[in-house]
């Protein structure tokens, strides 16, 4: 009886694991395989080639889109993380009377559909007659990243042991010294997590960027969508494969970055 139930559980575990892995990784695997397929259209296997990787690096439009994406991602990460840190610190102050209301307002955008936010931003830029382009995309990205960064940093601060501040004061440290030597380093894992989240959200975003970029400023997702609409998919496969590799690289180095930054401070 015991043996039976143990086997039964084992089978269940294995099934669940296989299903999850299949759902998550089969599409990606196919994408990677077909990035080496020697065919201009979506078709069966025609033979192995590096051609589209070479084409990818010769394509100036892709390079431009990549540059735009990276610039927007880095700037919006920097701005939204900084604002996130400041807001989280402000929310920590118990004497700040609007604290609960503000926190609720910060949480709300997380559940607002992207398309709503995209349309509302497009309307805003139209209404204020701001020329769409890099600046509007940047503003839009900061807007949707900021809720995430505040929440991540704030949750880290919530577990902060205030007696450490008292201990540092007791040992002769002034408030600014305490902030840079005690509080900031201990916030660091939260800050890194917030920055990474903002960075990936920004790289990834299509809908909001679509509504706020206008003509002439393409990020990678916008470019990919446009290219697929025109029917060529091959360079897109190789581009996507490279992006997957880049993401994996980020995941791997995250832990290292965190360690280096914490010990450096």
């Amino acid at each position: 009886m015991k043996v039976f139930s143990r086997n039964w559980y084992k089978g269940l575990n294995l099934t669940a694991f296989s299903l999850v892995m299949a759902f998550l990784y089969i599409p990606i695997l196919i994408l990677i395989i077909f990035s080496f397929n020697d065919s201009r259209i979506i078709a069966g296997w025609q033979g192995f080639t590096f051609k589209y990787y070479i084409l990818l690096f010769q394509n100036t439009a892709i390079k431009e889109a990549f540059r735009n994406t990276m610039m927007i991602a880095m700037l919006s990460t920097l701005i939204s993380t900084t604002l996130g840190i400041l807001t989280a610190l402000a929310l920590e102050n118990k004497r700040f009377s609007g604290r609960k209301g503000l926190l609720a307002l910060i949480y709300t955008p997380l559940v607002i559909p992207d398309i709503l936010m995209g349309v509302s931003l497009a309307l805003l830029f139209n209404f204020t007659r701001v020329n769409t382009g890099m600046i509007t995309v940047l503003i839009a990205h900061v807007t949707f990243c900021i809720s995430y960064t505040v929440i991540v940093v704030q949750s880290r601060l919530e577990g902060f042991d205030h007696s450490l501040v008292e201990a540092a004061q007791d040992l002769g440290a002034r408030p600014s010294y305490i902030f840079w030597k005690i509080k900031f380093p201990l916030m660091m894992p939260g800050i890194i997590a917030a920055a990474l989240l903002a960075f990936t959200l920004s790289i990834d975003d299509f809908i909001i960027t679509f509504f706020t970029s206008g003509r002439g400023f393409d990020t990678l997702p916008i470019y990919v969508e446009g290219t697929i609409r025109r029917g060529t998919i091959t360079t897109i496969n190789s581009l996507s494969t490279l992006m997957i590799a880049f993401t994996l690289f980020l995941v791997v180095i995250t832990k290292r970055i965190r360690k280096i930054l914490v010990s450096a401070l």
Partner: protein
């Protein structure tokens, strides 16, 4: 020389008065304890000396300097926190060096002084570790090193042993005393554990409801409690209330009601003579009472009472007997020394004699019901029953 002088210090939190008009002088080099139940204001008092709280009124002086409103980082005072509060992202070396780095002391000197401190607390070979890699007792040592390296005039210790287990606590207590002897500065120790406070202190202050109830050396407070609360909180005791029947030059005669209408008489010494006929309370420590099934030889200065054993609690180092005299209950501690001739062990329901030297009955002025809170009264069950029945 005085190190810490508190003058009429009070602290209110909203409508709650945590510390109520405390005045106190702590001498330089002294190991002084604040002892009291939780909520008595002892930690608030310590936090005001450290600078984490500002008194609502009154002044605090450190030597000649008034420090009442000085921020914590400007005081020559360091604190050992209850949970140690070591910086988790720094090595033990960096934790201990923290105070010196703020003072911008040269690197080579920091290294020497940290090593010296780590040696004092016997942690010299662990400097490279992080706080989460060491045990509670070791964290305690690092916290001590981190505070003492700044050469404070006063070291404040806020329930420093509360988080350790019993054996380690006893060990660290001796260690703390040794460190105190080695560095020679003033230690102010806050605890709710009377054993710790008695063992470690040169002097201590018993606190209750924001006030100092009594201050003095441990033996003084134990043997000669000035109030019902002090007698109740420090150690264990029997309270006896009675009417002063006669007053002589060096002793008095007391008539006590045993609760059944019968009364018994005991003699006691006194410090200040009470009025004949007045009602007074006495404290009688359980270990001062001898217990025997044989009637002891009558002597002038020995009090004798006949009772019946109601309960026997074997406690290892001693046995606690609950002995009923009328409706009163006496607690008696009897050590297990095998030099007595009363070789057959006492048994339940056995009739026994209680006897003690009359100077061991210690008269206390004041009214128990006013000095103890309801909760404290119900803890000292015997006391409340005895006092309430008498309606005093």
């Amino acid at each position: 020389m005085e190190d810490i002088i508190l003058e009429n210090v009070s602290k209110d939190f909203g409508s709650f008065t945590a510390v109520d008009g405390v005045s106190l002088t702590i001498k330089s080099g002294e190991l002084f304890s604040f002892l009291g139940p939780s909520g008595c204001g002892k930690t608030t008092l310590l936090r005001m000396i450290a600078g984490f709280e500002t008194p609502t009124s009154g002044t605090i002086r450190l030597g000649n300097q008034e420090i009442t409103d000085l921020p914590p980082y400007k005081r020559e005072v360091n604190t050992i926190f209850q949970n140690y509060s070591l910086f988790p992202h720094m090595t033990l070396f960096d934790n201990v060096a923290f105070g010196l780095r703020i003072k911008k002391i040269p690197k080579a000197e920091i290294k020497d002084r940290v090593r010296e401190m780590m040696t004092l607390v016997k942690m010299e070979d662990q400097a490279h570790k992080f706080p989460d890699q060491i045990s509670g007792g070791q964290k305690q040592r690092i916290a001590i090193a981190r505070a003492l390296i700044n050469k404070p005039r006063v070291l404040l210790l806020d329930e420093p042993l509360a988080a350790l287990d019993l054996k380690l606590r006893q060990h660290m207590l001796i260690e703390l005393m040794n460190i105190h002897d080695a560095v020679g500065i003033t230690f102010i120790y806050v605890t709710h554990d009377q054993g710790e406070a008695m063992g470690i202190s040169d002097r201590l202050a018993v606190m209750n409801l924001g006030k100092i109830v009594q201050e003095g050396p441990p033996d003084d407070i134990y043997e000669r409690p000035a109030s019902i609360f002090a007698a109740y909180f420090i150690g264990e005791t029997n309270f006896i209330t009675g009417q002063v029947k006669a007053l002589y030059e060096d002793y008095l005669e007391l008539s006590c009601d045993d609760g059944t209408g019968q009364s018994f008489e005991i003699d006691s010494s006194f410090q200040r003579p009470p009025v004949v006929g007045s009602r007074v309370t006495f404290s009688l420590r359980p270990e001062k009472i001898a217990i025997s099934r044989n009637k002891p030889r009558a002597q002038d200065d020995i009090n004798m009472l006949k009772g019946q054993i109601e309960d026997i609690l074997y406690l290892g180092s001693h046995t606690q007997y609950i002995v009923r005299v009328g409706k009163l209950k006496f607690r008696v501690f009897s050590q297990h020394k095998r030099v007595y001739f009363d070789d057959k062990a006492l048994d339940w329901e056995e009739k026994v004699w209680l006897f003690w030297h009359d100077t061991d009955t210690w008269m206390i002025e004041g009214d128990a019901l006013e000095e103890l809170t309801e909760a404290q009264l119900s803890e000292g069950g015997q006391l409340s029953r005895a006092l309430k029945r008498r309606g005093s």
